[in-house]
């Protein structure tokens, strides 16, 4: 697969930037002419990953989010969301539906479940004290 375009975005992990992140990724995919459903899937998954960084990664509320988007062969989209926050030990555990370390009143524990369902592929790497990297891929069918 040949990389046809890519963008690196670096943002502070503050509430509100999840909205920018999903809009930016959607704008970056627009030239691929995705369907409305595909673009919404991508926006939803990006919103989950970036919100996780904002909510969970930095208990002292100061840190950064890196969002890297790569397009291969003008049709495969890869999104990587990275933080250097608290991380976690067991990626399989946190990916389970309803698993959350916040009160269920606030957070449903469905973030990873949604990322997995809305994208074709999800990879989660984390190390306690070092940070977390979430990589998601999706094939975009051309509609132009």
């Amino acid at each position: 697969m040949k990389m046809t375009n890519h963008v690196k975005i670096n943002l502070p992990a503050i509430v509100g930037n999840e909205g920018f992140a999903r809009a930016a990724v959607a704008a970056f995919c627009a030239p691929l002419s995705p369907s409305l459903e595909e673009i919404n899937d991508v926006k939803t998954a990006v919103s989950e990953a970036v919100t996780n960084v904002i909510v969970h990664a930095y208990p002292d509320n100061s840190g950064e989010i890196d969002v890297e988007v790569t397009i291969y062969d003008d049709k495969v989209l890869s999104v990587t969301v990275t933080d250097s926050g608290v991380g976690f030990a067991d990626a399989e555990e946190v990916k389970k539906p309803f698993y959350t370390t916040k009160s269920a009143e606030e957070h449903s524990g469905m973030g990873f479940t949604i990322m997995e369902a809305f994208m074709d592929d999800l990879e989660v790497c984390s190390e306690p004290g070092r940070g977390t990297r979430v990589t998601m891929r999706k094939n975009i069918k051309q509609h132009a």
Partner: protein, 101 residues
């Protein structure tokens, strides 16, 4: 997020307008809880016609309200969810406890 509420014979309809995510979650929670405290009702319908986007943060908001409403012996429903939000509801299983009307 903007809100408007109509109350008719114990049925509250609350229309939301905006994106329901981490940025608007606290404000939405506060608005809904205030309305639910002020009224007596047997059914609460959230009108999503003008909600353009919702992620799992919204699920958390809805689950919390579901708990309060059902502790009051009443019912929480949604209507007019768009396709993106419908998919979030379906994948998360939320329709099992919050019906679409």
């Amino acid at each position: 997020m903007d809100f408007s509420t109509t109350l008719n014979r114990g049925e509250i309809v609350i229309a939301l307008d905006g994106e329901l995510d981490e940025k608007t979650a606290a404000q939405t929670r506060d608005y809904l809880d205030k309305r639910l405290r002020e009224s007596t009702y047997h059914r609460v319908i959230l009108d999503f016609a003008k909600v353009s986007f919702m992620d799992s943060t919204g699920i958390g908001v809805l689950l919390g309200r579901y708990k309060k409403v059902s502790e009051n012996g009443a019912e929480l429903c949604v209507k007019n969810v768009n396709r993106q939000i419908d998919k979030v509801f379906r994948i998360s299983g939320l329709y099992q406890i919050i019906k679409a009307v």
